[in-house]
């Protein structure tokens, strides 16, 4: 089974992946390089890559209509 096989869309899947990478997982008391502002930049950058501006909102809300 692959991610693509059951994902609702590659764009939504990528946003979910990035979101969980920087918002989930084990938190250690190490040096977390990405600041809050850095996280925002990741999101902004991904939105620009994934969709034109007028479509960015729906993409981040979940994309595919069921």
């Amino acid at each position: 089974m692959t991610v693509d096989r059951i994902s609702s869309g590659e764009d939504v899947a990528l946003v979910d992946l990035v979101d969980r990478l920087i918002g989930g997982g084990v938190v250690l008391t190490g040096d977390v390089v990405l600041s809050l502002a850095g996280v925002d930049l990741v999101y902004l950058g991904l939105r620009l890559v994934l969709a034109p501006a007028h479509e960015a909102g729906p993409v981040l809300r979940g994309g595919t209509r069921g």
């Binding site: 089974m1 991610v3 096989r5 059951i6 994902s7 609702s8 869309g9 939504v12 899947a13 990528l14 979910d16 992946l17 990035v18 969980r20 990478l21 920087i22 918002g23 989930g24 997982g25 084990v26 938190v27 250690l28 008391t29 190490g30 040096d31 977390v32 390089v33 990405l34 850095g38 996280v39 930049l41 990741v42 950058g45 991904l46 890559v49 809300r61 979940g62 994309g63 595919t64 209509r65 069921g66």
Partner: protein, 205 residues
């Protein structure tokens, strides 16, 4: 410096990964050697993520939040030794399981309210939408009950993380999609299977 990637059981056999490992008690911490801090470039984050996703299909793992670095092995040991037993128990619990992310988008949840709407009407409408959303989360949990006993509502409150057996992921998604088709005010979609990003710690509730 070391960019930390994931925690795996100490006995895990890793094939086909460029990640290094450092054994700490019953677990091993996987990491990349870096000469400089990891970038926040989306392509770099996604590449790191795909590596973790691919690895999770082969061995149980706890992903470590992207961007977490330590200076050297000694610092890693000091941090990991305090948590190694806890991680080991969690890895045993998560073995063979994966995470699905269910997107629940109520069509009217984001609908603009009229400019002439009173404050009371606005609050009542908002409460009704929140109750509807809570009901939907309960419904999704009921639909997925045959495949999961552990879910988490994510901070954005629009997504529900669901822990399922990896072999049940496709079936659970199909059941959810069939249920979603009968919901007139809801768009439901699913992504995954993912490593258990949202389940690395025991549910505090």
């Amino acid at each position: 410096m070391m960019l930390l990637a994931a925690v795996v059981p100490r006995e895990a056999v890793l094939v086909g990964t460029e990640l290094h490992r450092r054994d700490v008690g019953p677990v091993a911490v996987l990491y990349e050697e870096r000469s400089e801090a990891p970038t926040e470039e989306p392509s770099a984050v996604v590449e790191h993520g795909r590596r973790i996703v691919a690895l999770a299909e082969k061995v149980p793992l706890l992903p470590i939040r992207y961007g977490t670095t330590v200076a050297d092995g000694q610092e890693l040991d000091e941090l990991a030794e305090q948590r190694a037993d806890e991680w080991s128990r969690r890895l045993a619990h998560l073995a063979g399981r994966c995470e699905l992310l269910v997107h629940l988008d109520l069509h009217d949840l984001t609908a603009p309210t009229g400019p002439a709407e009173s404050g009371r009407a606005y609050l009542e409408a908002r409460m009704a939408r929140l109750r509807r959303h809570e009901q939907l989360v309960a419904d999704v949990r009921r639909v997925l009950e045959p495949w999961t006993d552990e879910t988490r509502v994510l901070p954005d409150r629009r997504r529900l993380a669901v822990l399922v057996e990896r072999e049940d992921a496709a079936t659970a998604c199909e059941a959810l999609a069939a249920w979603g088709e009968g919901q007139c005010d809801l768009a439901v979609s699913t992504s995954g299977p993912w490593p258990p990003f949202s389940f690395c710690e025991e549910d505090p509730t």
